[in-house]
């Protein structure tokens, strides 16, 4: 359970990015955070693992307060939160395997990581995860040799090998084509379900948010203006979040609910076959 109370962030430039946000995310919930650019979505998730220092407020993950942690305890806390980034943020000159194993850095000593002598259990888990996302044959490729969708799947492995209690996902589909975007979102959703993980997903594609999240929070100018299920996202609500626009075609029709329909739009590629995804953990 993630509990955020009165989260406020004022940047050094004086911009008030977050104006006292209250937000609870129960275990196992996949929540999408939507809103226009500059609404503070990215600041919210970066405050949770303190890549950005909050100005005021409290954040608790499973009853541990995060905002007041000392640097050593913060490192141990960060291990419990996996983060998936916009534009993947893989270390491009490291191999796929090194990128995945970097998710274990919080658990191993410096020399162990420097000499790349990770415990066998970590290596087993890395291969298991890579196989789960269909990339185990790429382990020794350099990260910059991969396509966008493949890179994001490596990013997902890096986050999951931390064995996190919460996933922080920042615009996972920002530079992906529509089909790959759906595959990545579906993968995140399935993995969360398998591991009973809760996730906060920043996303600006409203349709994707509605398709894959069970709860939607709308952020505007640092304040929550909508918090509810995806199907109550009406044109009026979207106007409130984003401003005046013709929203009729953006909102998902009720008969799109069946996953089969989505697959007709985006048939699975040979790399991620649905059977394979369902069969392997």
């Amino acid at each position: 359970m993630l509990r955020i109370k009165g989260l406020t962030k004022r940047y050094r430039t004086g911009d008030l990015a977050l104006k006292g946000i209250d937000l609870d995310v129960p275990d196992g919930q996949v929540m999408a955070l939507i809103g226009p650019s500059g609404a503070g979505k990215s600041t919210v998730i970066r405050c949770i693992n303190r890549l950005v220092e909050p100005t005021a407020g409290t954040i608790e993950l499973n009853d541990t307060e995060i905002v007041a942690l000392s640097s050593g305890n913060l490192r141990r806390m960060r291990r419990r939160m996996g983060m998936i980034f916009q534009e993947y943020a893989l270390v491009e000159r490291l191999s796929v395997m090194e990128n995945v194993l970097s998710g274990r850095l919080g658990y191993v000593g410096f020399w162990q990581s420097y000499l790349r002598k990770f415990p066998q259990s970590d290596i087993d888990e890395a291969f298991r995860l890579l196989q789960r996302v269909g990339l185990d044959h790429m382990a020794d490729k350099r990260a910059d040799e991969l396509s966008g969708g493949q890179r994001q799947r490596v990013g997902i492995c890096r986050a999951l090998i931390q064995n996190p209690e919460l996933l922080l996902v920042d615009e996972p589909t920002a530079s992906l084509d529509p089909k790959t975007s759906r595959q990545i979102m579906r993968l995140i959703k399935e993995l969360c379900a398998e591991r009973k993980l809760s996730a906060i997903i920043n996303i600006h594609d409203v349709m994707l948010a509605q398709m894959f999240a069970e709860r939607i929070v709308g952020l505007k100018l640092g304040e929550i203006v909508y918090d509810g299920p995806p199907d109550q996202l009406t044109p009026a609500v979207l106007t409130q979040i984003y401003g005046e626009e013709d929203w009729a075609s953006t909102i998902r029709k009720a008969d799109d609910d069946e996953p089969e329909t989505i697959d007709e739009i985006a048939p699975a590629t040979p790399i991620i076959e649905r059977d394979r995804l369902a069969g392997l953990t």
Partner: protein, 269 residues
């Protein structure tokens, strides 16, 4: 509504970089006048240039043929000294410049550390190798040790500054992603920063090796040992044929290191 301008036969010219015409012309004229005046102060004495030409010719003929044999032992010793001086000074200089360079990168070092490391770099970079060598020869006496210290110190300024700049240019999101996993500071440098700067820094290390060998010859002339000292002795004895041999060997070694370091750099990147 704005007034619609006619779209045909409208004149267009690239806007000048300096908008104010008077300022633009003042700068251009001022620079031209300064250049003309500066050229006047050199006071070239063409008669002396003319007289110098045959003397230069004599000098060149004295070099021929180069004599490799009669002073070969001294030459071989000088080259060996220069080579070890170069290799050790480059290795030690790079090792010392890594912490300084990391500390001098604004995006990862706290402000006091940044200013401290930047000032080390500034001091190291503000002196040319020959001036440093004169100073260190006074400090440690004649010989290759003074040369080694000179080259190592100069390497810190060169390598540390370029390392700091490369770190400042790195992709912040890759480093942020490593930090988000709960890594320690050293792990963060090793996984998030090092891979991003490594290929360029290997190339620059080889390039510095190359520079240090060339500088070792100059440093020797002011007393820093190595092939430069041998060369200086040859000139002092008016043994121009031996000096020519040394110069040819230096050229050959510089060409070899330049070619091989260029090849290695391409291979690394």
């Amino acid at each position: 509504m704005s007034i619609a301008l006619p779209t045909e036969r409208r004149r267009w010219k690239k806007p000048p970089v300096i908008k104010r015409a008077w300022l633009r012309w003042t700068l251009i004229l001022g620079f031209a006048i300064y250049l003309a005046l500066a050229f006047g102060t050199i006071s070239v004495n063409w008669a002396r240039v003319w007289e110098g030409l045959p003397r230069g010719m004599q000098f060149v003929t004295a070099f021929l043929p180069p004599d490799f044999t009669s002073r070969w032992d001294e030459i071989a010793q000088g080259i060996a000294e220069s080579l070890w001086m170069t290799v050790v000074a480059t290795a030690v200089g790079i090792a010392l410049s890594i912490p300084v360079g990391i500390g001098a990168a604004r995006n990862i070092a706290p402000l006091p550390v940044y200013y401290f490391c930047r000032s080390i770099l500034a001091v190291s970079r503000s002196f040319q190798e020959v001036i440093l060598a004169i100073f260190f020869v006074k400090l440690f006496g004649f010989g290759p040790f003074a040369g080694f210290v000179t080259l190592a110190f100069a390497t810190i300024g060169f390598y540390g500054k370029l390392l700091a700049e490369d770190i400042e240019d790195m992709d912040a999101s890759q480093a942020e992603a490593v930090r988000a996993t709960g890594s320690s500071w050293l792990q963060w440098i090793n996984y998030g920063v090092q891979p991003q700067v490594m290929p360029r820094m290997i190339g620059l290390g080889l390039y510095r090796l190359d520079i240090n060998f060339r500088e070792s010859a100059v440093v020797g002339i002011v007393g820093g040992g190595g092939i430069g000292a041998t060369l200086n002795t040859a000139f002092d004895r008016y043994e121009f044929d031996s000096a020519a041999a040394i110069i040819l060997i230096i050229i050959a070694i510089v060409m070899f290191t330049e070619y091989s370091s260029g090849y290695l750099r391409r291979w690394v990147q």
